[in-house]
Every structure is written in C-alpha cells, then in structure tokens.
Symmetry: C2
Subunit: 385 residues, 2 copies
Amino acid sequence: MADCDRMGRSTHSMDKSITLPPDEIFRNLENAKRFAIDIGGSLTKLAYYSTVQHKVAKVRSFDHSVKETENDPLYEISVQEEIIARLHFIKFENAYIETCLDFIKDHLVNTETKVIKATGGGAHKFKDLIEKKLKLKVDKEDEMSCLIKGCNFVLRNIPHEAFVYVKHADSEFRFQNTHPDIFPYLLVNIGSGVSIVESEDKFERIGGSSIGGGTFWGLGALLTKTKRFDELLQLASRGQHTSVDMLVKDIYGGSYGSLGLTGDLIASSFGKSATADKEFSKEDMAKSLLHMISNDIGQLACLYAKLHNLSRVYFGGFFIRGHPVTMHTITYSINFFTKGEVQALFLRHEGYLGAIGAFLKGAEEDTEPHAAGAQRNETTKRPDV
Amino acid sequence: MADCDRMGRSTHSMDKSITLPPDEIFRNLENAKRFAIDIGGSLTKLAYYSTVQHKVAKVRSFDHSVKETENDPLYEISVQEEIIARLHFIKFENAYIETCLDFIKDHLVNTETKVIKATGGGAHKFKDLIEKKLKLKVDKEDEMSCLIKGCNFVLRNIPHEAFVYVKHADSEFRFQNTHPDIFPYLLVNIGSGVSIVESEDKFERIGGSSIGGGTFWGLGALLTKTKRFDELLQLASRGQHTSVDMLVKDIYGGSYGSLGLTGDLIASSFGKSATADKEFSKEDMAKSLLHMISNDIGQLACLYAKLHNLSRVYFGGFFIRGHPVTMHTITYSINFFTKGEVQALFLRHEGYLGAIGAFLKGAEEDTEPHAAGAQRNETTKRPDV
C-alpha cells in the first residue's frame, strides 16, 4: 500500500501513526528520547513521538430520578485539556540514510535529546555516521528483542492491528481483538531476509531464510529492470504466473489424483522458462517470483510452527505491505501445508515492530527514577487510535 | 558430471550402467519388457536391459598338504560361460521426446516386447504418442512407488551407490556400504519440482516444493541467457555469490554474535542486486541461484526429517548431477540446520531411481508363472558392478 518518493521515503507513512495508551511511561518523553531507528538490510525505519494538546468538552449528565429542585442542571459541560501522545512512522531506503538523518535532525529542534535508540543490523554498521551527523549517542538494542517487544505491544494495545486475510470475502480483512493473552506465537519477520522467532515469556530465534524481501526485490530488479519494490508488486498484481511456472497439469496432463495434487498446483517455479523459446512479460515473471517466495516462506513458517507446536503465526517485516496477492499466497500456503491447523495473521504495523520496540525501551528508561524530566507533566492522556 | 549433446541426450550416461544381481527375476528378460521410461517435467529417463555373454576362466586350486601323488595337479582351469545382465541408462530433454522414442525403437529389434513400463507425470501426458510411435502398450506405474522401489534396490544392491560428500577431504566421496536394513529414510527427489518421501515398510509423500531443478534451469536461463542446464552449473562453479547476495556482514558490519550468525552467512539471496547500479556477471548470478535453491531444499529436508524423526536423507532426481558446489551447499545446509543430527546422502543413480523402479516392476511381472519366456534361460549370472 505504501509507496516511496524519489528519496525512498514512504509517502503514506503518516496513515499508520498510532496514539499511545495512557501509560505512565509515555507521560514525560517530550524532552527525552523521541526517536527510535531500525536499520535493516534494505530499509531504515523510524518511530518518533509527538504530543498534541487538545481542548476536550466533557459532558456530565445527572440522574433525573433523584432530581431535587427544578433548577438542578440536567447535564454539565466542562472543558478539559488533554495531551495525546502519538507515535509516527516513516521509512527510507538505506541508500538515503543521509536524508533520513536530516529528517531526524530537523525534528529534533528545541529538544534536549542526547541519545537515539537504534536497532537492526545497521545500528552497528551506521553507528559512527549517526553519531557524527546527529551529535547524539547511539544506544544499540538487540534486534530480536525489539521485534518481539514491538509485536507484543501492538498485539496488546492497538485495535485493528492483527488480521487474517480472506480473499473474495465481503470483508477481506478480519481483524482480531486486542487481548492480554497473546502467547505463544510465531513471528515470521520478512525483511531483506527472514527471521523466525518463537515468543512465549521468553523468545528465541528458531530459524530463518535467505529467501525474503531482498530476494523479491533483487531478483525482480534483474528480471524486469524495475528497481522499485512497490512497482514490482504492481507488476506482479497484473501478471499470470501460469505462463512461467510449470504446473502439475503441465507435467501430468491433469491432476495427480493419488497424491491429491490438483492440476493447477505449481510443480516447478519458473519451470516453463527453462526451455520455452519466447519472451516472458515483466508482469508474469514478477507474479511468479512473488508466488515462489511467498509460498516458500509460508511453507517454512508451517514447518517451524508444527515443530514447535504453535498454531498462530504473525507475519512482520516490510515485504508484505498489505499486498493482497502476497497475503493470499502466504495464507493459501499455510492452509495447504497445515490443513487449517495453523492460522496466518498479518499486522498493520508489520514493518515497524523493531522501531516500536526500540522506542518502548527508550521510553521505559526515561521513566526510571533518575531520568531527566520525570514527574514534570501530569496532564492526562487518553487512548485514541 | 553428465553432459548433454545437441539432442539433449546425456553423453556420459553409459558410465552409470550397472550389472544386475543374479536374482531369479533378471534371468528371462531378453524377450520381455526391456525398456522402462520415466518422464518428468523436463527430462525423460530410460533404463534398458542387455546381456553380455562372457567366457570366464575359473581356477580351482588343490590343497598341497593332502597331495596324494606327484601327478596331482596344483590347480585346475575350466572355462565357463556366463551371461551378465546389465541395466543401462540414458536421458533426453523432453523437447526431444521423439528422438528418445526413436532410440527405443532402434533398440527393440528382434525382441518380442509388447509393453513398455512408464512412470513419471509424462507417462500420462505422452501415453498416446508413445503407443502410436512404438506400437507398444504403455503400462503406467505410480511415480512415488517407482522412486522408492528404485531407491531401495540401489541401496541394497549397488556397491558405491550412496555417499556423503566431504569438501576438502582427501576423498570427497565417502561411500556407504550396501546393507539390507535401509529403513527408515527420507528421499528428497529433486526433479523440476521437489518431492519429499518418507520410506519405511510403507512409504508416503510427506511434502514437496516448487523450488527445484526447473527453477534453477528456468531462472538461470532468464538471468544468463544460457539455455543448457549443465552449462549453468559450469557458470555457477566459476562465480562468486558474495557479489550478488547480501551477507550478514553487509547488514551488521560483522557477525551477529548473540545469535551465532557468522558474517559470511547469506542474509538475503540476491539482496545486493536490488539497489546496486551495476551489471552482475552470469557466473555470479548462477552461483547465487544455485546456493539459494540448494540451501532452501536442504532446509526443507531438515525440517521434514526432524518432524518425522528421521536421521538419513537421500537426495535423488536430476538436479545435483554430482556437482560439488550443489552437494556441498546441501550438506552444509543440513549440518547447519540440524547441528549434525541428520546426514545428507547422495546417490550415483540419483536421476534414474524412477526408471529403475519401473524396470523392476516389469521384471517382476515377467517372472510370474504365466509370463512368456519364463524358464527358458538358465545360464548363471553374477554380480559385477
């Protein structure tokens, strides 16, 4: 859904901003760690904090049955001041990391921030650049720990976060309710590569794969000469994979009945392009590639879920981007391989889990007793997502 | 190792011919079902039978300690006649199926064969063509059943069949001894697509993948404009995958120590080709593709082996072809994902398991009491592989 401008910034990122719940930890961040950065293999994701001051009319009504005099009011209006804390998100391609750091600099005016929370592999690689350019100390946080912290947070607090995707249904997105009991689950984070993390009270990275978003982007760019990720997804949505893939029926002339393999099942991804003397369209190749990668991730996710006895799999990372073909293929793959025993769930903030986790770690540290600025602001905040 | 001529025939296929063990079932095949055909998504494999008559000198020596007269001989030479039954193999690309059928026709001279055993998906698809051209009845056999029958046969009977591959060792190929107790095992048959079969007394196809030999061939052809499978393997053997793949160290600047991921591990296959403004060499792309596919197959094999509690995985199908890079990558992948608990084993007749199985089914039928030609030839045969 999100697209990027020429600087690699997402142009619709503001759509995803969330209002933080009225927890103690979000009360006093104005002059503290307002930015968290998550630098992956291809994309840099930012989560940053802002507050908006609202004047809100509060209506208090009175019980008529116990009205004592004619002059008692039926209701009372008071105007209260509320501060709503919101978390915003923006992403940049790593090639534009300098632009990203300029963006942070521009938004740091008049704050006393001295530290930036950073996670993802690039937190190590770009540490010196960030510190030099922003004159902030980089406070590194472990990637898996941030991912899981961010995932737990959105699952528990953000309405309309997790959903199952049902193609052809009246409503394609079936949102799950937030719930305090979220464990155990499997998180399949599809960035450039794939990390597969089991989360209970503790979490563990139990697997991964090198066939992920970077593979779709990289192979897609080589096959179609299209360099932009979202453009590749657009190509894929217009393509026919059946002209590139070898289906069961291309080999058997029909289904392979005794094994329950239908004729339309992909027997060999790109199997037709081996010998055919023809040009394949960009659209068809992109579609076939998307199928190949989504199916593979779905299959690996199932196998890990089965091995660890888990029935819920969330998909994070910036590969999916709300793209219907991708979600349908992953969902189909999960259903095919587990016969419905495992549920595929997608997340609205899929790409920002790490950045959210890093932000939360910063926020928690700021509310520790020694943190500067604590106890300064007691204005109420309310949830408003 | 095998290469193909312009007709898609393997030019070294004779190297793999095997002498059949001196079982009853191989005694009377001369005028019976001599050909078995296995038609996959990309390749047609033939197994065919021939006998060679040998005069063999047999030496019998006598025990000196019980010599009775000076004229007793020290040894005795007798000349015996033996017939050695051999099974030969040849493969054709499916595009040259007519050439393949001509080959069969040429070799059917002076036989009374009326039936040809056929397996693989193409046995269904090409049935009419085969029957019309050869004037033989196609007797179809189930693909998985032939694969397993062929695999069991070579494991039990053919010396130097199964081996583990050890890169940099004095001898890269560590052959396993034949053994009657072969169960349980997992067979990963990598043809155009991948089938994963668990074999005990019964067998079951427990999984599969569309990322197989057809994907290497098809994607490889699109990326390098090289249409021949073995040429793609040659390209791969000269390439550097690190210029195309995004490694852990490309993201982290080093290893990801807390997870035990070394810097040289592939984080994202083709991850560098997404954004780099440069041409990638055919060799490097082919190598990266080979790594991607071999790793993926290795990982899936491990996960299925673990789920089904199996410690031996044999790799069949025509993808590997004795190619060291492929065997090393699969072996590495299996060791990486199972910490050595699962053993990767390769097979010299990897591509012909289905054809061997189909041939055996035909041979068994011919030795049933009603079969034509039974009891006609009692000449001894001996194993000589």
